[in-house]
Structures are given as structure tokens and as C-alpha cells.
Amino acid sequence: MRVLFRIASSILEIVREDLRRPHAFALERVGFLSCRFARLKPLGLVILACDYLSVADGEYVNDSTVGAMMGSEAIRKALQFAYNNDVGMFHVHMHDHCGSPRPSKTDLDETAKFIPDFWHVKPQMPHGAMIFSRDSISGRCWYPARRKPISISKLAIVGPQLVCIWN
């Protein structure tokens, strides 16, 4: 299955700016992109990023075993946003390096635990997880009725420069 991701550079700037902010105890920040979708024939998907949902300072849990741990209120708000707006939700965080960001074992384990929860509120929607680096993006998508996530093969940042990233 071919999966593409497209985001306006203006939204990406908002995401990066938010994720770069230091936190009182968390070592990194996380957030959610709400996304809508388009079908590709014969079998494919275009993920279209629409809005960014920041996680508030008070919604992190102080857990030194990971870079950032969301509290239940942050996840509840993201679930509510998906439900209210009929969108898929993509968890985002940033790796502070250049080049294609690869998920750590913690990233893989944790997202595999909570991303499928979004199907409880929006079972028809794909959901997923994106990782931003300083100059690149990678991501995985949980598609309805498929247990394993699918890697996003092409990402496009639409702005004054149109940047296409092939993974």
C-alpha cells in the first residue's frame, strides 16, 4: 500500500516551534496533527495534515525513563478532537538531528500501544505517528483493519519551496 503525507509549511513551522520549546521536566515535547485523507487508486492513501494540537505544559507526566510522557488528559483531548472533527490523529515529536529520523525502540513500543486507541473514537480513520528531525520527516500510519503500521513512503512539505522526502 502506497502512503503519502502532505503538510503546508506554515503548519509545519507551528509544529516545530512548539516542539522546540523547553519544558520544566520533560526532555522533549509531543503533539498531535489532525489529518484528513484522500484515496489513491488502486490501493493507496494521501494523508493531509490540517491542524496542530499542542500538549499543554501541565499534561506531561514526570517520568525519567522516557523523553516525554503524556498524561491521560492529553490523550483524552486528542481523542476528543478526533471525535469532534472527524479526523485522523498523528502523534508528533522531534529528534534533534539532521537527516531522516528513525523511531527508537521506545517510540515503536509506545506508539503501538496508544495509536490504535484512536480507533475507539474514529474506527474508519487512519491514525499514526510522525517524527520530525531538523530537516526531514518520517512517519507510520495505522490503517483501519490492518494490525501493523505502514511506513509513509513520500512526504511533501508545501510552501515557498516544495520539499519532497522519499523514505
Binding site: 503519502l4 485523507f37 484522500a38 489513491l40 494521501v46 491542524d51 519551496q161
Partner: protein, 270 residues
């Protein structure tokens, strides 16, 4: 073949070290393959674009030969599909190019646009422009529109036109004043009686060249560029293309496509 590619890379080195691969991989749709679209296709093939979707339901006729670049008298005689002419034009310049030729109305095969990186609209009517821009916005795809017209005036004819870059979030054809309710309703009232709009190859060439430049600038910028849209107006008497003074009055956010619920397939289901 390798020599040609190497020479292109050397001559276009100011576009960046990866420009050849960026241009080869970018998927570019051209809707409307007559006066404007044929120029666009040819020039994109020359700069090394390698992945095309070309859409036009029409056949070549003798009356197209004054402007359809690459069409021959034989094509007019045989009634060759315009998509086949353009595929031939592209392949002769860049044999490696992938060309998906769709000889239908674009609305019937609109799914081919969804995975494109840039869409060129080289269509004749305001109604089609409106639909095409809406489709591009729906899928967050940059849309480059070219249009020209020849109008009778007191002492002869006036040739005018424009090139527009319509970016998601940026000013749209309505913001630019190109699409207006008055123009759309006037066109609708003349439906079926409009006939063929006069077109001239030199004006089409100017507009198409600028449109291709905008596309290459998007993909491989040779300088930092700011701003979220472009409007250039063509004056056929003075043979000039200039930045529109309308740009100063645009809202920072397009009010016509501001609703994120209009993004993506309507009623999407897996």
C-alpha cells in the same frame, strides 16, 4: 543519453546538486494541452521533469496548429489525441520520462491529481479554473494557472493574460480577482456559444515559460523566496509581464479556502 543528462545537470547546476533527481521524481499534472499546456510540457521535459500526468479529452484539429506546440499537419489530418501528441513531445526530449496520458475530461479522472506535486491549469474557462483550483486546494497541491484572452477594443484588439501560483493557505484565484461571480455567470450564460477563444502562440509562450519558471522555482529554488502566491499580468501591447499591484491588498489568509473540513476526499472511507 548519459551525456545529455550530464550536460543538463552542469548547465542547470545553479538549481542545486539534487535538482536533477528532484525534477525527475516530481509528479506534475498538466490539464489542458493546447496553446499553454503544450508549451509547459515541452519546457518541463527540457528542464528534466520526469513524471507527468497529461490530461485533455480533445483531438488535434487544423485550427489548433497555430499554437499547439509539437502538433503537425498530419496530426490534424488524423485527429490525433492531444495527449498522444504531448506524450510524443515529452518523450522525444526526455525518453526516460513517465507520462500518464489521460484522454478524458479531467473531472472524470480527478483521482490522478491526488498524488501530484504540482498541477498546471491551462484550461479555457473560468468555471474549469474554479473547479481545478478547488481540487488542488482539497489535496494541498500547488496550482499554477495560466490564462490569456484577446478582446476587441476601440482601435483594434487587446491581448492580456496572467500567470498565477495558488498555494494552499495563500491567495486564490478569487483573492486575485481572476474568478468573480460576474465572470462566471457571464460565461455560464454564453455556454455552448462561446466558440474557440482566440489564442496566440507568442503570448502563450510567454505565460507558459513564466509558469514553468515558477514550478522550477518551487521545486529547486535558486534564491530564497518568501510569499505564498504569485500573480504576474501580461500586457500584449507592451509585451511585458509584471507583478500585479493587486498583491498589496490581499488578506494574509485566503478567506475562500480557510475551512480545513474541505480538505481531503468528502465522506472519506477506507
Amino acid at each position: 543519453m548519459e551525456l545529455n543528462r550530464h550536460n543538463r545537470q552542469v548547465n542547470q547546476s545553479f538549481l542545486g546538486t539534487n535538482s536533477e533527481s528532484i525534477l525527475a521524481q516530481a509528479r506534475i499534472a498538466i490539464i489542458g494541452l493546447s496553446g499553454g499546456g503544450s508549451h509547459v510540457a515541452l519546457q518541463l521535459a527540457h528542464v528534466g521533469a520526469g513524471n507527468f500526468v497529461v490530461i485533455d479529452y480533445d483531438h488535434v484539429e487544423a485550427r489548433n496548429l497555430n499554437r499547439l506546440v509539437g502538433a503537425t499537419a498530419r496530426d490534424a489530418q488524423l485527429g490525433t489525441l492531444k495527449t498522444n501528441v504531448i506524450r510524443r513531445v515529452i518523450k522525444r526530449v526526455n525518453p526516460r520520462a513517465k507520462v500518464l496520458a489521460v484522454p478524458k475530461k479531467w473531472q472524470e479522472e480527478a483521482e490522478h491529481l491526488r498524488d501530484c506535486d504540482v498541477i498546471f491549469g491551462c484550461v479555457d474557462t473560468f468555471a474549469e479554473r474554479q473547479q481545478l483550483e478547488a481540487a488542488a486546494r482539497r489535496y494541498l497541491i500547488p496550482y499554477i494557472d495560466i490564462g490569456m484572452d484577446v478582446c476587441p477594443v476601440d482601435d483594434g484588439f487587446s491581448i492580456g493574460g496572467q500567470v498565477v501560483l495558488s498555494m494552499p493557505g495563500g491567495p486564490c484565484l478569487r483573492c486575485y480577482g481572476i474568478l468573480t461571480d460576474e465572470r462566471l455567470s457571464r460565461e455560464a450564460a454564453q455556454y455552448g456559444a462561446a466558440g474557440s477563444r482566440p489564442q496566440v502562440v507568442w503570448a502563450n509562450g510567454v505565460l507558459a515559460s513564466t509558469a514553468v519558471g515558477i514550478c522550477v522555482q518551487l521545486l529547486c529554488p535558486w534564491r530564497n523566496r518568501q510569499g505564498r502566491g504569485i500573480l504576474r499580468e501580461y500586457d500584449g501591447e507592451s509585451h511585458t509581464l509584471s507583478a500585479s499591484n493587486k498583491m498589496a491588498y490581499f488578506p494574509s489568509q485566503c478567506p475562500h479556502f480557510s475551512d480545513s473540513s474541505s480538505v481531503g476526499d468528502p465522506f472519506w472511507k477506507p
